[in-house]
Amino acid sequence: MVQYSNAHLDASFAALADVTRRGVLEQLGRAEASITDLAEKFDMTLTGMKKHVGLLEEAGLVITEKVGRVRTCRIGARRLEEVAAWIERYHRLWDARFCELDKVVEELKRKEKQDGSKKAK
């Protein structure tokens, strides 16, 4: 199994457990933005937005860089990939199971229909 740091994953999931921070990620997925831009967009104080971005940065989901007086934020893709990979592995297993379960259920349904029409005669 692929090894990855659980502590990183914890931080990532915690960071993602907030609607504003998910919004910020979505926004940064489209284009990088300054903290001021983000604060305006999410109708929030600069301090509030700095806090959210700080948590995302700690979780490795966002990278920030200060150029002059502006701090620019962009997506930190690697960590997000870890989170996505965890969900993806889980998803793949259950999706495969449920596709098979579908077949079993369809077969039950078919049999029931057959029995039902026999009884009707």
């Binding site: 199994m1 692929v2 659980n6 994953l9 914890d10 999931f13 915690a14 993602l16 457990a17 609607v19 998910r22 990620l25 979505e26 997925g29 997506i75 893709a77 997000l80 990939e81 989170v83 996505a84 990979a85 965890w86 969900i87 993806e88 592995r89 889980y90 998803h91 793949r92 297993l93 259950w94 999706d95 495969a96 199971r97 449920f98 596709c99 098979e100 379960l101 579908d102 077949k103 079993v104 259920v105 369809e106 039950l108 349904k109 029931e112």
Partner: protein, 161 residues
């Protein structure tokens, strides 16, 4: 022209959400009444047909299930690999709750509910772990994670929303 009469298509999409640090929830809709989905989940000879899809690369050697409140189950995959536990609550055809005890203290509790609506069944399965570490470490036994692309961001955010 031929008049087309079609029933509503079923959304057969499997969703996975991390509800909290300790809980993951999977949903899926089936185009069948709840009693049939419940039957496929609770009769060992049917359960065996779907629980171990080919992509898992494993073979289920034996499967004992006593799907009643207080009943036990044991799945054996050979090489001493066993999954076992107890059914804490079984309410046909709407709910099954069981423990996963092979992990010892890190064992999880799984709840699956079958909710029927207009002949279709919404299946909701929740796995609750004793700690977030246990959940993060939970192995699915599925294939190794392949390199994920950034395009998954949208999908991920959608499932977490």
């Amino acid at each position: 022209m031929e008049a087309r009469k079609q029933s509503e298509p079923v959304m057969k999409r499997t969703t996975v959400q991390r509800k909290s640090d300790r809980e993951v929830v999977v949903t899926r809709t089936f185009d069948a009444p709840a009693r049939l989905v419940f039957e496929a989940w609770s009769r060992p000879e049917l359960f065996k047909q779907w629980w171990v899809p080919k992509s898992m690369g494993m073979t289920l050697r034996s499967c004992e299930m006593d799907v009643r409140t207080g009943g036990k189950y044991r799945l054996n995959f050979g090489d001493g690999m066993d999954f076992f536990g107890r059914y804490i609550e079984v309410t046909p055809p709407s709910r099954i709750v069981w423990t996963n005890e092979e992990g010892g203290e890190n064992g999880s509790v799984t709840t699956v509910t079958f909710e029927e609506k207009a002949g279709q069944t919404l299946l909701v399965m929740s796995e609750l772990y004793p700690s977030k570490e246990a959940l993060d470490a939970a192995g699915t036994g599925a294939a190794d994670a392949t390199h994920e692309t950034f395009a998954q961001l949208d999908e991920l955010l959608a499932t977490l929303a």
